[in-house]
């Protein structure tokens, strides 16, 4: 066995230029794949983090029918058992109660439909930093009777901070809801769609408005890290009463999941093509290598080397090439990835505006998730496993006499 390694290793450097070029092609593939995955994964993580913080939370508890029919009738009361379950859950870092509903807003000039959120301002602030979007006026505090509205909505209604706004809605079980509220501040969201139709008020205030005391539509929950979502969901599930349901973020945001899956798939296609090209290149090199050594292999078998030993020798040699490529590729790319994880790329100019208008920080983040490195390594390994099948086939088919005669 030691002999096999010795011969394989020395064979590797017989044509060192070819070996290095082949290893370099693998290096390039691994390097590129890692870099691409890191950027992609990083931007997804960032996107999910943004969306989850801003809107859905990592987990939500809702009344069973709320997902189908987003009506305040499908709301629920938070009992002690649920509170205990949430506060005892090790994964959970933050939680806040919400009412999600609709209201018609009116001014003298016109009336506009809007999304109405009843929130706990302090807890919401802790999760999403909502107050940073305040463009004019002030953020609200718990118990306040005032409201916050989107800046574009205010412009459309031609209202300002300190003006009063009439809200009309449908309360619990069809009770009509109406009220006048002072505008405490305007929220300057980067997403125009949000800015033109959002209204926040304190949750108690909202419960009063909609005649649904102590009821909420959603309990929003944050966990330490995305990986802990499923654990937290399982734990919550155990304690949950029948009429409630717990959703992880990917069920709450199917569009986001679709978007990510689409991009992941196209990334996979690019990487598959890349590795296919590299794989065929390596295969061609190995074919050449074996062909050049036909006579030599013939001599070895003639003097008494069993074919399986010959196979082991040349397979080891091929794997050495793969190993050099994988290791150097991972070493090189991890340096780069490490650098970019520490120093994310700040997007500037028009691109930055595009990012902001979608509600994201104009930043390209990288991920250093271990899978990013393991996957290309496995792919290269599989390529070499396939090539070794070819090598086995080649040696089995090799006829000693014809090889010795230098014929095919």
């Amino acid at each position: 066995m030691k002999d096999n390694f010795k011969i394989a290793w020395r064979n590797l450097w017989r044509n060192s230029r070819r070996t290095l070029i082949t290893a370099a092609s693998i290096f390039f593939g691994v390097f590129f794949a890692v870099f691409m995955s890191s950027l992609q994964q990083g931007s997804f993580e960032n996107m999910v983090d943004n969306m989850v913080r801003f809107y859905s939370g990592y987990i939500q508890i809702q009344e069973t029918d709320f997902k189908e029919k987003r009506s305040v009738n499908n709301s629920f009361k938070v009992d002690n058992a649920l509170e205990t379950s949430i506060s005892n859950n090790m994964h959970i870092t933050h939680s806040t109660q919400r009412i999600e509903s609709f209201a018609l807003t009116g001014s003298e000039s016109k009336s506009i439909p809007a999304m109405l959120f009843g929130i706990n301002p302090e807890k919401e602030e802790a999760i999403s930093g909502l107050s940073k979007w305040i463009g004019e006026g002030e953020f609200i505090a718990s118990g306040s009777k005032d409201i916050l509205i989107g800046k574009v909505l205010a412009e459309n209604l031609k209202v300002h901070v300190d003006d009063s706004l009439v809200l009309i809605g449908q309360g619990y079980h069809g009770v009509s809801a109406a009220g006048i509220y002072r505008i405490a501040g305007l929220l300057d969201f980067p997403l125009p769609d949000l800015s033109k139709q959002i209204i926040y008020m304190g949750i108690r205030n909202c419960q009063e408005f909609l005649s649904m005391p102590n009821l909420i539509t959603s309990y929003v929950i944050m966990v330490n890290a995305p990986e802990e979502v499923s654990g937290a969901v399982t734990d919550l599930h155990k304690d949950l009463s029948k009429e409630l349901k717990v959703y992880p973020w990917d069920e709450l945001q199917p569009e986001l999941v679709n978007l990510i899956e689409g991009k992941v798939a196209s990334g996979k296609v690019v990487k598959a093509l890349l590795f296919m090209v590299i794989g065929f290149g390596v295969w061609a090199t190995i074919i050449m290598m074996m062909h050049e050594r036909r006579r030599e292999l013939g001599v070895m078998i003639a003097i008494g080397l069993q074919k399986f030993r010959v196979v082991i020798m040349i397979v080891i040699e091929a794997f050495f090439i793969g190993l050099i490529g994988i290791l150097s590729g991972i070493a090189g790319s991890s340096l780069l990835v490490w650098y970019f994880v520490k120093n994310p790329i700040i997007v500037t100019g028009e691109m930055a505006e595009t990012y902001r208008s979608m509600g994201f920080e104009p930043i390209l983040k990288f991920s250093a998730n271990i899978d990013i490195f393991i996957t290309p390594a496995i792919i290269v390994f599989v390529i070499f496993a396939l090539i070794s099948l070819y090598q086995i086939y080649y040696v089995i088919k090799l006829r000693t006499v014809t090889a010795l005669r230098g014929l095919n």
Binding site: D3, I7, R10, N11, R14, R295, E296, V299, M300, I301, A302, I303, G304, L305, Q306, K307, T400, V401, L404, R405
Partner: protein
């Protein structure tokens, strides 16, 4: 005592459009300690004959018995081991593993036989000294002349302590000085250690040394002569 007994050996190649009867019914025995040249014009079937005799090329019909074993009845794995333990090969060229040194090439086969390290090293040294290149033990084949390479090949062929050595035109690529040197070496091995040699050649100088000359033409034995030398 007969080392090799060959009976009605035939080899027909079907690979091309025309059938080639490369060996066409050879029956012959070889005794221990013989120094035999198989001669004949190019294409007469020398290589084919030696390959069948050496367990490399399967005969179309006939049998080869070496030390009582009918080699063509062995499984291909057993046959490879049989070759390793019983036959030493010297080919015309590309004999040595290029990435191994002269010493490692000789040691290689003993390693396959599972000989202990001490014995291997001692024998390698002795063998390379006996073929006259003890000082080149650490050289790779590319650093050796053609004659030196063939000497290493002889040493390697001897390393496994085979029943006999088959050499297919071992001097074909050598100049006259190297040729006579190699011949001198082989006949010395033959005289001193009673090693059985069978070689194919059409080199007159090789024939001059041989004590038995088997002449082949069109795959048949034309003459089988013995000389006192």
């Amino acid at each position: 005592m007969n080392v090799i007994e060959i009976k009605d050996l035939v080899k027909i190649y079907n690979s091309s459009e025309v059938k080639v009867k490369a060996v066409n019914g050879i029956t012959i025995d070889f005794e221990e300690g013989e120094f035999t040249a198989v001669v004949g014009p190019s294409g007469s079937g020398k290589t084919t004959f030696l390959n069948m005799l050496g367990g490399l090329d399967r005969p179309t019909s006939g049998s080869v018995k070496i030390g009582g074993t009918n080699v063509w009845e062995l499984s291909s794995r057993k046959l490879i081991d049989f070759r390793m333990n019983n036959i030493g090969f010297v080919f015309q060229s590309y004999n040595l593993i290029p990435v191994l040194t002269a010493g490692e090439n000789v040691e290689f086969i003993m390693h396959l036989q599972g000989k202990p390290k001490k014995e291997r090293e001692k024998r390698t040294k002795e063998l390379l000294e006996s073929v006259g290149i003890g000082d080149r033990i650490k050289s790779r084949p590319a650093k050796l002349s053609g004659g030196q390479q063939q000497r290493v090949a002889v040493a390697r062929a001897l390393a496994s302590k085979p029943e006999f050595i088959l050499a297919d035109e071992p001097t074909a690529n050598l100049d006259s000085k190297a040729t006579s040197g190699l011949l001198e070496l082989m006949s010395e091995m033959n005289r001193k250690h009673n090693t059985t040699f069978i070689f194919a050649t059409h080199d007159q100088r090789v024939m001059d040394k041989a004590r038995r000359i088997v002449t082949i033409e069109d795959g048949k034995i034309l003459k089988d002569e013995r000389f006192e030398r």
